[in-house]
Symmetry: C2
Subunit: 297 residues, 2 copies
């Protein structure tokens, strides 16, 4: 990894960790038992890919990164809630996540459901908090971003993809792509789009950032599937081989690993081309795309 | 019930039912299996108390009721999601609601969790949809209302109250009041506040509407507890006597039914006084308060 990109990641991650810790309301307004459950999952680490992508998009379009920070944190809260609910016994029934027992194992199913509900709701509370000194333009952008994120996270996006996953058994490549574009891709796209909007980009630029992030999202899922086959539980921090064992369709199962790797590389090429259209090919966004494809967890 | 108030309720309910049916995204963008699950619960009827209160607050402050309609529907979607999740086996484990089997009984636990998540998220998508011809003032109000609703529904409000309920066993009257003020009261207050804000009320008026709705919320819970003891399952549309049987604290258990009835009447008197401060005592808002206390389900 390029040392300057590595420094960029580290610096953004520090901003995000600090902002996430301050984003949750905390006691006494929030009951301690719920606060602990929400923080258990929020502070479990993870790559912070989505919020970093959000901040990098604001940077790339020449915007004020701090204006995108609430949206970046809101998206990470939503991502975290989705993992909590996905891990529940009634869904994927996972007991390990990021190298630790899942929340329902340590806090019980009821509290895990509530912690997820709380994180999802607090994400929108955060988005709606009008920044100090924010003008009416900032409020309009924040409302627009709330809509982008809600549509990406809701029934037409992530939740819809999860419903397709839950209901589907044998599906073909095209249906697999459609399911993943909702389940994983929509929120990754929304991360970049939210950053570009909060950074003040005009619609034509937002559109190209969206196209590039759509390719990142697809590449992310393909690589995730490959890691699920190849990976070790310790490295992934979750149970490896689980999707394949459950008979869920994966890219390697449908196309084989070499062809799946090529598909991920082709996503990067299409992303590069979209960013070139917007004169953003030299921003950190492409480095994030390469990181997604090269990662080992 | 005053015939003109009865007509008012019927007219508002018709507006809300039509808007709710149009509020959900639907196929093909939303997977049919998820859309059916969400609509099963949204169309299950219910009093529509919260959205009616929202519209009545907009009316009371002399505002444009149609500007409050998205907020009214968003709140009902959030109320509906909370019932779905509360009914889950890991929570209250209820199998009947509004005279029909609960969603997890008919669609499975996983799909019920997702339908709840979807309804909560679509509520914010709806709030964020900038109305046609809406000016920047409308956008600023909508963002403010999104924050009011998120805080009322989230970890400091409804979800927090549910967490307290889940974690609590023996609690005293003061703790009971605190738990209910989050679990039920917060969203009832937010309904009226959202209506007043979208109706363009100045902050001093919003504050008095908030105070009155806080009393309505407390009265609602007291009457709910009384109905749980006195009621028939058929009339309530859910299993009666359940809270008492579970050893959960209720107002009748702590104070007896006659004293609990008096407490509900006192709530109405304090609400009346708050509304008088704002010259709103002759609006439909007080009729809604009386309806809450007189209802039989």
């Amino acid at each position: 990894m390029d040392p300057s990109f590595s420094e960029y990641l580290q610096a953004r991650r520090a901003e995000i960790e600090a902002a996430l810790a301050a984003a949750l309301p905390g006691p006494p307004d929030c009951p301690p038992v719920l606060d602990q459950a929400m923080r258990y999952s929020v502070t479990a680490g993870g790559k912070r890919l989505r919020p970093i992508l959000c901040l990098a998009a604001a940077d790339a379009v020449g915007g004020d990164r701090s204006a995108a920070l609430p949206a970046a944190c809101a998206i990470e809260l939503i991502h975290t809630y989705s993992l909590i609910h996905d891990d529940l016994p009634a869904m994927d029934d996972d007991t390990m996540r990021r190298g630790r027992p899942t929340l329902h194992v340590v806090a019980g199913e009821g509290m895990a459901i509530l912690a997820g509900d709380g994180l999802l709701t607090e994400a929108f509370a955060l988005l709606a908090r009008v920044p100090a000194g924010g003008d009416s333009r900032t409020a309009a952008r924040a409302l627009r971003v709330a809509g982008v994120i809600a549509r990406a996270a809701g029934a037409t996006g992530m939740v819809g993809g999860q419903a397709l996953d839950l209901a589907s058994a044998d599906i073909d490549g095209e249906a697999l792509r459609r399911m993943h574009s909702k389940k994983t891709g929509a929120l990754i796209r929304a991360s970049a789009v939210a950053g570009a909007i909060m950074g003040g980009a005009p619609d034509a630029i937002v559109d190209r950032v969206d196209a590039a992030a759509g390719e990142f999202g697809l590449a992310f899922q393909i690589v995730d599937d490959i890691l699920d086959v190849e990976g070790q539980s310790a490295q992934l921090g979750k149970t490896a081989g689980k999707d394949a064992a459950a008979g869920k369709p994966t890219y390697p199962a449908l196309y084989g690993i070499p062809a799946a790797r090529t598909m991920a590389e082709e996503c990067l090429q299409r992303a590069q081309s979209a960013l070139e259209d917007a004169n953003l090919a030299n921003s950190q966004l492409m480095n994030i795309g390469r990181w997604i494809v090269k990662r080992s967890n």
